[in-house]
């Protein structure tokens, strides 16, 4: 066979598409023709290079663009309303206020004075989430920053407005699971108390519960639960 005919068959030869006879003829020719063997190697390298070109990932906003073109409103990622301030920030703020109050109590903690845990322990007596670690902790009257470990044992209050009776049951169950309690219930308003460390989890759980209820055919901006941060630490 002539080289030109063989070269035209090399692509199919590499793909394994040749019949037995043609395959044998190509292999016989390759065994004696350096030029065609070089051509085959070059073709192999090309195919390898093409196959190993980096896979370019889709832009992260591709789906958003498709939604825009289809006239679909972007879905609210968080449909739980947080009014006033986020609980996390509020927890820190309230903790600071509490510490300031303790410091200002006569005989408990003066500016610059080192206070040990018994003073704080008294102030938190009614707190069922009383941190044991307070027994070992010292807080300076000058330093008003709240240690992360302290925050974790404070509690927060929120009012959650459920839309339906089923939602009330669901919220109660979530609150209980997160070591919180419903202090008062008025209509669909639930006044709840929850350890600060679980406040974020509460929101996440409520959002998940809400997503489970989400129906694509329903209005997309439906808010199932309204949550208002309304309280502070004890």
């Amino acid at each position: 066979m002539e080289c030109k005919i063989i070269k035209d068959l090399l692509s199919e030869y590499l793909e394994g598409d040749l019949g037995d006879l043609q395959k044998a003829q190509v292999e016989e020719h390759l065994s004696v023709c350096k030029d065609c063997t070089a051509e085959l190697e070059s073709l192999k390298r090309l195919i390898k290079n093409l196959g190993s070109l980096k896979k370019v990932a889709a832009p992260p906003d591709l789906l958003d663009g498709i939604h825009r073109q289809l006239g679909i409103q972007p879905k609210k990622k968080v449909s739980v309303n947080r009014i006033w301030v986020p609980l996390e920030a509020a927890g820190v703020l309230v903790s600071i206020i509490l510490i300031v109050l303790f410091i200002n109590q006569p005989g408990i903690l003066k500016k610059g004075q080192k206070a040990t845990s018994p003073a704080l322990e008294g102030a938190y007596k009614s707190d069922k989430f009383m941190p044991e670690m307070f027994n070992k902790q010292e807080i300076s009257g000058e330093a008003l920053s709240v240690p992360q470990e302290t925050r974790a044992f404070l509690e927060e209050r929120t009012v959650i407005t459920a839309r339906t009776k089923e939602d009330v049951t669901k919220i109660k169950s979530i609150v209980k699971e997160l070591e919180g309690e419903v202090e008062k219930e008025e209509a669909n308003n639930l006044y709840i108390k929850i350890p600060a460390k679980n406040a974020t989890i509460l929101f996440d759980r409520l959002e998940s519960a809400e997503k489970e209820n989400y129906s694509p055919s329903a209005a997309q901006d439906t808010v199932h639960f309204d949550i208002q941060f309304s309280g502070s630490n004890q």
């Binding site: 290079n49 093409l50 070109l53 370019v56 789906l63 663009g65 498709i66 289809l70 694509p216």
Partner: protein, 189 residues
């Protein structure tokens, strides 16, 4: 994970989130084909988005004789071919070598490179960019075959369905496309 046909059924029943799942499942593969066809990130983005939008709009006509992915490829390749033809036509209307007459005399016209974004120009320095450059120089028909077969690794059967060609034609085009690329990339590969 739900099967494509189940997601299609749900989409047709009005569950738009089902179509989102299909987009998320195939967007990377579709975008990669578009990128290799168009040779530009922005053009690829436009083409892929349009392909998904068209697929959504014509979903009721999808006869399920092929996979949904092949159906998407078919739409995308047609879009890319049309876009490339339009881009080539536009770039041929005015030669960048022709001086442009202005009040201040003739100035040399500079047309933004529609094929390569700044990001792509940086990439030109390496081998991969040279390979992409060679792909860009192929005509649309040969480019489609080489992108689907050698870059995406699609089967002849899928390519035949996506391009509405018989397998013999696919093989013949693939051979010619490879020859052309090999000649262009002699010093690189």
């Amino acid at each position: 994970m739900a099967l494509d046909f189940e997601l299609i059924e749900k989409t047709l029943k009005g569950e738009k989130t089902a179509f989102d799942e299909l987009v998320l499942k195939y967007q990377d593969r579709i975008f990669n084909i578009a990128y290799r066809m168009m040779g530009s990130y922005e053009e690829a983005k436009d083409a892929s988005q349009e392909a998904f939008v068209n697929a959504f709009k014509s979903l009721a006509n999808f006869r399920r004789e092929s996979s949904f992915y092949t159906y998407l490829c078919q739409i995308l390749i047609n879009l890319c071919k049309n876009r490339l033809k339009r881009l080539n036509r536009d770039s041929k209307l005015v030669s960048i070598d022709d001086p442009l007459p202005t009040e201040d005399g003739e100035v040399k016209l500079e047309i933004p490179d529609k094929t390569f974004s700044p990001r792509d120009i940086l990439e030109k320095k390496d081998k991969e960019a040279r390979v992409q450059e060679a792909i860009n120089a192929l005509d649309e028909e040969h480019k489609a075959v080489v992108v689907l077969r050698d870059i995406q690794g699609s089967s002849y059967e899928d390519i035949a369905q996506a391009l509405n060609l018989n397998i013999g034609t696919i093989k013949s085009r693939l051979h010619r496309a490879r020859q052309e690329l090999k000649n262009k990339l002699k010093d690189v590969i």
